[in-house]
Amino acid sequence: MTEEIIIAGFGGQGVLSMGKILAYSGVMQDQEVTWFPSYGPEMRGGTANVTVIMSDNRISSPILHEFDTAIILNQQSMDKFEKTVKAGGVLLYDPNGIVHPPTRTDINVYKIEGTKIAADLGNVKTFNMVVLGAYLKAKPVVKMESIKKGLEKSLPERHHKLIPLNLQAIDAGQEKLETVNLVS
């Protein structure tokens, strides 16, 4: 199994840390992983994206022009990455702030009201975990216990008290994933 994912949105949405938790979960279940971020000043307030690759085999390129899954969290990223999803692949997006929703009919499109759900949970910072939950529902690439371990590994000790809240957010995301049927 190899899963190649791009996660793209604004800096501050937790794009990089979502990718990191996912990658650490992969390590926890003995997979090869690569986490490749956009870096530099563009990340301050601008767009941020990270490629996460998880595989049972040695991983080749960390730079990809097409992905199995795109998780898209703002319009710029939609414009840039909708076209990079492989035919038959997955596109997951949060409609908040999206003016032009995806139109491709050869891929599986899913929606998650991440911003809203996180606000309902009482902590907007859990946004990225809601989205992660939704993704794992659409594509259960890692076991929940690996996610738990991944959270423990990637969060600094002083933030461990937040793990239950994060898991709750992941559950909420899994529950509230919506399938968008565009296939004609």
Partner: protein, 364 residues
Amino acid sequence: MGELRLMKGNEVIAEAAIRCGCDGYFGYPITPQSEVMETLMAREPWDETGMVVLQAESEVASINMVYGAAGTGKKVMTSSSSPGISLMAEGISYIAGAELPCLIVNVQRGGPGLGTIQPSQADYFQSTKGGGHGDYKLIVLAPASVQEMNDFVDLGFELAFKYRNPAMILTDGAIGQMMEKVELGDYKPRMTAGEVESKTGSWATTGKTSDRDYNVITSLYLESSKMEESNRRLQEKYIQMEAEEVRYETFQCEDADYVLVAFGSSARICQKSVELARAKGLKVGLLRPITLFPFPKKPIAELAKKVKGFMAVEMNAGQMVEDVQLAVGCAKSLATVTYFGRMGGIIPTPGEVVEAIEQKLIEA
């Protein structure tokens, strides 16, 4: 099995340094490698292993601190990115001339000038052909994964001490900033002065004792015959390195008609390109030089006898391709040698490389 972690390439350099018994790090901040010193400072290895970590006032100072510390037989290193390495060129030349072991990490960014902080491989010439003044060479290791960033710290020091020659890890912002699963090495104790002496002889300035003449670390030989003697000694080392230290890896070269030659992050991209090309029915393979000096001339020459063409894929304007041409030329092969690359901090995609294989290599 060692400890498994998910770490950035830059962080791993720091961790590996501590674990392999490094005595000191001297550096100056520059993107995209500042995490090396930041990680070291956060780890506070001076309490754990006694390793010294110092932020110098410039790269000029850093490399000269390395010179001083290395001259006492200590295992010391620095890291920087392209503009900083240019500033170090003088010091590196002195270190090579004085035959001191040390490790230099260059996490390359695009140039020339202040350039960009995005990844690049444009310092290939600078790293493999010397870089500063005078006839000297560095041992140049090109990691292609975070795991190799870890492994090459120890290997770099090992080779540096074996040859009493500076070793360089030549990597780039992509691998420096990327996180991957890495198996960390076990802790090795720092070497004692006695161990260094029994392994490499009595040359270090450890304080003159009555049982030996005083030691001098210098690269100055005003008498031409002495200078030439020193030059010859250096060249003999480089010849020995070419005989004993060439490291490379091949991927699907057995039946290949066309071979990509790429190092570091480019090699990772090319590995994917090979898979994509094979899926299209094209018989493409990859040769990845792991040591850039000594360069794997012989394996390329061997392949040149049976393949139709080579394409060097580099994140620069075509530098390593010259070494590929030389190797193919030495084999008196008629295989074509071409180049594909991107510059300015742009990383070519695997798909772009496949297109280039079709257009520049197969159709040409």
